[in-house]
Amino acid sequence: MTTPGTETDVPTENGKQPVVEQRLHPVTPLRRAWAPIAVLIGWAVHDPNQAQRQLTRLTTTTLLLGLAVCLIGGALYGFLTWWFTHFAVTDSELRIRTGLLFRRTAHIRLERIQAVDITQPLLARVAGVAKLKLDVVGTDKKDELAYLGEGHARALRAELLARAAGFAPETAHEVGEAPVRQLLHIPARVLAVSLVLTGATWGSLAAALVVPPVLWFATHSLWTVLATGVPLLGAAGASSVGRFISEYDWTVGESPDGLRIDHGLLDRTHETVPPGRVQTVRIVEPLLWRRRGWVRVELDVAGSSNSVLVPVAPREMAEAVIGRVLPGVTVPASLSRPPRRAGWCLPFWWRGYGIAVTDSVFVSRHGLLRRSLALVPHAKVQSVRVEQGPWARFKGLADVHVDTGANKTVTAGLRDAQEAAELLRGQAERSRTGRRDARPDRWMA
């Protein structure tokens, strides 16, 4: 441990092979440099009068002194957290050691990694650094390595994925980044049009234009108007401009070590989902997109918060991508509807329901205006349930729930009771056998 950024060799307990411990990029201490300033600004905004009075009372010397203390304290804290953060990649795990007073060592098993993301906020892009985030099931706090050099982050991701795939540790360095084959790229124009055709944007915009004037007439209080208008405008902005910025230049690629999703205008994000991690795929079709035949594809990966696979694409292209994500899966064209008497349980909306079962997936659709079709591979089903309330039993109907590992439940609503019972037995059987031909956790081994 001499100069910043050097690698230190620490022999393992059995002395087999040295584990190379590394440090994060030296700009890391600066990542929280803005925090004290933000606190000051927040305090000043929160109470402007008080802040002004305090400022006039302070002399230049005390101001400078305070600033210096803040700076030095912040710098010391940043430096120490950086100094005491190490990480190392071993044969089977990634170890992260952090903490000055309260030491914490995280051992992340590589074959259990659900997704690897490299994110680059705007400032990090300027500085040429990136954040590496690992999704593992069951942890609330995501382990991330922030920040690494841009090239280093990519190399590390490639190495982690190669080791997770089951390549021998000696060769994992040399495997390098797997070649990516581009599956889909979304033009900015299509994205913009799709966002214009999204109901949520217009809804919040309309609310932002209607609610504040009404409140003004009702209360004549500027604060209530601001307190409601600003969040509503913010929501409208987030669902239109915000989504455009984050979903700009959306590229989906395929490589041997998984699915690659790259996107972002200001903050770039590069997500990787290793093969066999997808628990559910949802095809969402908003009403206004239907005429153009566009759909949005979402996916659920256990332990990962990223959910969008394709923000907008023509149906055929989206289905082609789904065929790559869930190998051998075709989206069924026709679904079986619930029996007509389901209208007694759920008027109108029952028409949106439908299910299909193929060799590899369980498919269920719901929604009348905004259709949503969920596909669950049989191998990913954790448990199956049939539920029947008194009114549904009177009508001879039942709901079938299929639980997946991403804490999502796919429901086939209002099926015939006899059919639901058969579906329950059949689905349990399929989920058991479906696992046999699923790929191993180390998919290259």
Binding site: R277, A302, S383, E387, Q388, T404, S431, R432
Partner: protein, 175 residues
């Protein structure tokens, strides 16, 4: 009385290997669970009935003692309801999965393949221990999985736990 004896269930279980559609052998819950629940009902509601009857009756006048009818009604209604609910619970161990069926008005049937089991939990509180009962809960990677057997004889609960973990290891599939 002997609805849920482990012997009868233990012999005939899981013969049809590989065949999922073999008729499941259902096992009910032990009668002690019903006795415990009814006792708890009585222990809570009888003093409540007395209090609701005596206090207003003595303080405000005899007519106010009618308040006692409320907990009394609850007691009289709850007694058979507990019986029906108890009778509705049953479970079956098949070759590859566990079936749990329950509910009178809102019926629910759950199937959990052994291979998906992440954790088997056996718990018993002080009252349940006094009655010689323990509950078994299965956890999979999906939090929505609601596989719980509320009251079993401890020996049966342990046997079930051991069998489930053993089968879970043999058929382990994880996520």
């Amino acid at each position: 009385m002997e609805t849920g004896s482990p012997e009868t269930a233990g012999e005939t279980r899981g013969d049809g290997h590989g065949e999922g559609h073999d008729e499941p052998v259902w096992t009910g819950l032990p009668r002690d669970l019903l006795r415990m629940r009814r006792l708890l009902l009585v222990v809570w509601l009888v003093p409540l009935t007395l209090a609701a009857g005596l206090l207003p009756g003595l303080l405000a006048g005899p007519a106010w003692a009618a308040f006692a009818l409320l907990p009394l009604g609850l007691l009289l209604w709850g007694w058979p309801m507990l019986g029906r609910n108890w009778a509705s619970w049953r479970y079956a161990e098949r070759a590859d999965d566990l079936l749990i069926s329950r509910g009178v008005l809102w019926r629910e049937e759950t199937i959990v393949p052994y291979g998906r089991m992440q954790l088997v939990e056996v718990t018993s509180g002080p009252v349940a221990r006094h009655f010689g009962l323990a509950s078994v809960q299965l956890h999979t990677a999906a939090a929505a999985t609601d596989a719980r057997i509320p009251g079993l004889e401890p020996a049966e609960a342990e046997r079930l736990r051991d069998r489930l973990t053993e089968l879970g290891q043999a058929r382990s599939a994880g996520l």
